[in-house]
């Protein structure tokens, strides 16, 4: 069981052989940090231009990379930040944050047939709402931006941190869903009452009901929006298919990130299955915040037990050596021992959870370091755990 927390996998080979690496997993497992650390290691050791594209604006991460903040435009991490961390980087590290609203606007600008349509869409009060919820807009736009960057060919490797989706799969299906949406009966449907008031007998009851519930003006507003939106059909669908192809390409890999807690791990397993089903490349599993293996060491456990049982005697024994009150030392020794047992329980649970991940390709464990990232050196330290030599 002890080896469960010492998976010595590495992302080095994966980062060297792929052009796009997408980290995925549930919220709070350290996706963004993992993406940044993997990218920093790739830039430092493999060379080339490496971009980390994140959706999670952790201020501390930006600061750790020596940047006040970063936005939609890619920014380069100063070489001096690497040097301050004692590393002479072979390549360049770039970062960008995904501003979904901005990216959607860009997309509309690109695909709108004319200026009037573009302005009408951007000004429509329903625009933002519909793009975000209807076709999993945030997820789609993340993949769209990735495609854009990839095809521009400026970077050798792009590491992407995915949005924390409620349904972790949304972003994989987003391009297909986008295409589907444009071809859907629903869209035709929504645009009918505006185009023509001629309704079939079958749909009349619906409109009557919908009118009564929502008011016909509102339905018409919706219809108007979709009629405008439809003009972008060809561009959108073509693009969505291209994005889909990039995701499935051999040069793209997915890294599932999790902790060893039950709920993120369940989502990780779900994700692994989903990648298999879609014939997408699962490159590695990164387990973050894994408690250290010594917590599972039987000798340590027995030492803690003796400390707990004989705290009084130990306190009396050692107090003169430390010029302390025996009672104080006894309490301290008992607390330290109890704390060990607490953490050992947590580590044992983690090890059990770990065994459920059987059959995964490359499993990389990152220990619980207990501190906070404050500079690039910290990011690279974390990266060391992702990057063990074979």
């Amino acid at each position: 069981m002890a080896q469960a927390t010492t998976d010595a996998g590495s992302l080095a080979a994966l980062m060297a052989s792929k052009e796009i690496a997408i980290t995925c997993g549930s919220g709070g497992v350290g996706k963004t940090t993992t993406a940044a650390a993997a990218a920093a290691m790739a830039a430092a050791h493999l060379g080339g231009r490496v971009l980390v594209l994140t959706v999670d604006p952790a201020r501390r991460l930006a600061n750790a990379l020596g940047l006040e903040s970063f936005g939609n435009v890619e920014r380069r991490v100063d070489k001096a930040a690497f040097e301050a961390a004692g590393v002479v980087p072979r390549g360049e590290l770039w970062v960008a944050m995904l501003d979904t609203k901005q990216s959607w606007d860009d997309l509309v600008r690109r695909h709108a047939p004319d200026d009037a349509t573009r302005d009408a869409i951007l000004a429509n009060p329903l625009y933002e709402n519909i793009t975000t919820r209807f076709v999993q807009g945030h997820d789609y736009i993340a993949m769209e931006r990735l495609y854009d960057i990839h095809t521009a060919g400026k970077y050798d490797l792009v590491v992407v941190d995915t949005p924390p989706s409620r349904n972790a799969l949304d972003f994989l299906d987003a391009p297909a869903r986008m295409a589907e949406f444009f071809n859907s009966r629903l869209l035709r449907w929504l645009t009918v009452p505006y185009r023509s008031r001629m309704m079939t007998a079958a749909s009349r009851p619906f409109y009557q009901m919908a009118d009564r519930i929502l008011g016909s003006q509102f339905l018409q507003d919706i219809a108007e929006f979709f009629i405008l939106f439809q003009t972008m059909h060809d561009g959108f669908v073509q693009r969505a298919r291209a994005v889909q192809r990039v995701l499935a390409d051999k040069r793209t890999t997915f890294i599932v990130v999790s902790t060893l807690e039950s709920s993120p791990l369940r989502e990780a397993e779900f994700f692994i299955d989903a990648l298999h089903e879609r014939h997408l490349h699962l490159g590695a599993i990164v387990l973050n915040k894994v408690l250290p293996a010594y917590l599972l060491d039987p000798a340590a456990a027995s030492a803690a037990s003796v400390m707990e049982r004989e705290a009084g005697a130990i306190g009396a024994d050692l107090a003169p050596l430390l010029a302390a009150e025996p009672a104080d030392l006894t309490r301290l020794v008992a607390d330290v021992a109890a704390s060990f047992h607490n953490y050992a329980v947590a580590a044992t649970r983690e090890a059990e959870q770990r065994t459920e991940l059987a059959g995964a390709p490359e499993v990389v464990s990152v220990p619980q370091l207990g501190g906070e990232l404050t500079d690039l050196a910290g990011v690279l330290d974390l990266g060391q755990h992702l990057w063990r030599p074979r």
């Binding site: 549930s26 919220g27 709070g28 952790a58 201020r59 009060p125 329903l126 519909i130 919820r133 209807f134 924390p164 449907w189 929504l190 009851p205 619906f206 009901m209 919908a210 009118d211 009564r212 519930i213 929502l214 008011g215 003006q217 509102f218 339905l219 507003d221 919706i222 060893l260 039950s262 709920s263 993120p264 250290p292 010594y294 917590l295 060491d297 000798a299 340590a300 027995s302 030492a303 803690a304 003796v306 400390m307 004989e310 005697a313 130990i314 050692l318 050596l321 430390l322 302390a324 030392l329 301290l332 330290v336 704390s339 060990f340 607490n342 953490y343 329980v345 649970r349 619980q368 906070e372």
Partner: protein, 316 residues
């Protein structure tokens, strides 16, 4: 106002993904029920965590008693729509016109606020019906909760006429009354959850009229050393005491000390984030602390333990 938390009728439990929303929502329901308050707890995103918290089979839209006095359900907007049409708009036939109801569900997805109002409306409806003393919503994560809470406003703004608009006022009356409704933000003593909590508290204040009832800090690590103890602990690393300790407990003694150092480091990092949290929420909201349980599996036992911890915090 802390004691007041469980006297409310409707609590939206939200927070960043992974902080333990479901555990806290379940525990609040269990705590209320243990004081004789019939509680309904509802999972909004159908991940199944709520069923795990009660170690029961998957939940449905129709509430089921999962624990003494605790009923649980899973939100399903299509079914909520049916119920809405039937009970509130008094539109008959809905059972027979399945495809039409589905189509309306499509429109509901497209129109801002409609989907949310089906969710929020269901909870407000339960509050109005008073079939439960407390409705606890295991709500959307921080990113979506504001849209959900402002749905009746959105609808009232966008929909000029129609039955739905007429339905918004009584919902607003329930949501905006602190005696009825409150938001509980769950967080952990970590950077991102704390940042999101501070941001969400600000957005709630600026964009909604719903009261922030409490912030629950989940998984607070225990303080290992009191004043002066740290120095004493470090003394144990010195050669002479270290040798004496190893002689008594075996050569693995340093590992036990390593574990204590890890615990101290984790606790200290967390404590710094708690200070940021306390300073960041203006005006201050009650902060409730739930200790780390060191049992990473979720289940009924953990739910009860958390309920106990919350009970102590609330003096309930």
């Amino acid at each position: 106002m802390v004691v007041d938390l469980l006297d409310r009728k409707l609590l939206f439990v939200t927070g960043k993904g992974g902080v333990g929303k479901t555990s806290i929502a379940s525990a609040l329901a269990v705590l209320a029920a243990s004081h004789g308050r019939r509680s309904l707890v509802c999972e909004v995103d159908a991940k199944g965590d709520l069923a795990s918290a009660f170690e029961t089979e998957p939940l449905r839209f129709k509430p089921r008693e999962v624990h003494d006095g605790v009923f649980a359900m899973a939100m399903d907007t299509e079914q909520s729509l049916r119920e809405y049409l039937k009970l509130q708009l008094r539109i008959p036939l809905v059972g027979r016109i399945g495809p039409l109801a589905r189509s309306l569900d499509f429109v509901a997805s497209a129109a801002p606020g409609v989907k949310e109002i089906l969710t929020v409306g269901k909870f407000c409806y339960e509050v109005r019906q008073a079939s439960y003393d407390l409705v606890v919503v295991d709500a959307e994560a921080s990113g979506h909760i504001v849209a959900q809470l402002t749905a009746p406003d959105t609808i009232a703004r966008l929909v000029q006429v129609g039955v739905v608009r007429e339905q918004t006022q009584w919902m607003l009356d329930i949501l905006n009354d602190p005696a009825h409704t409150g938001v509980v933000i769950v967080t952990n003593p970590e950077e991102m959850p704390v940042n999101e909590t501070i941001e969400l508290a600000a957005r709630l204040r600026e964009q909604t009229s719903v009261d922030l009832a409490a912030v629950v800090v989940n998984r607070v690590l225990p303080e290992l050393f009191g004043r002066g103890e740290e120095e004493l602990f470090e003394g144990l690393r010195r050669p002479e005491p270290a040798a004496a300790l190893a002689k008594r407990v075996g050569p693995a003694a340093p590992l036990v000390l390593d574990a204590a150092e890890l615990a101290v480091r984790l606790r200290r990092t967390g404590a710094a984030h708690l200070v940021e949290l306390r300073d960041g929420i203006v005006p201050a909201a009650p902060l409730l602390y739930v200790p780390e349980l060191f049992a990473r599996a979720k289940g009924l036992r953990a739910t009860r333990q958390i309920a106990g911890a919350l009970g102590e915090e609330l003096g309930f």
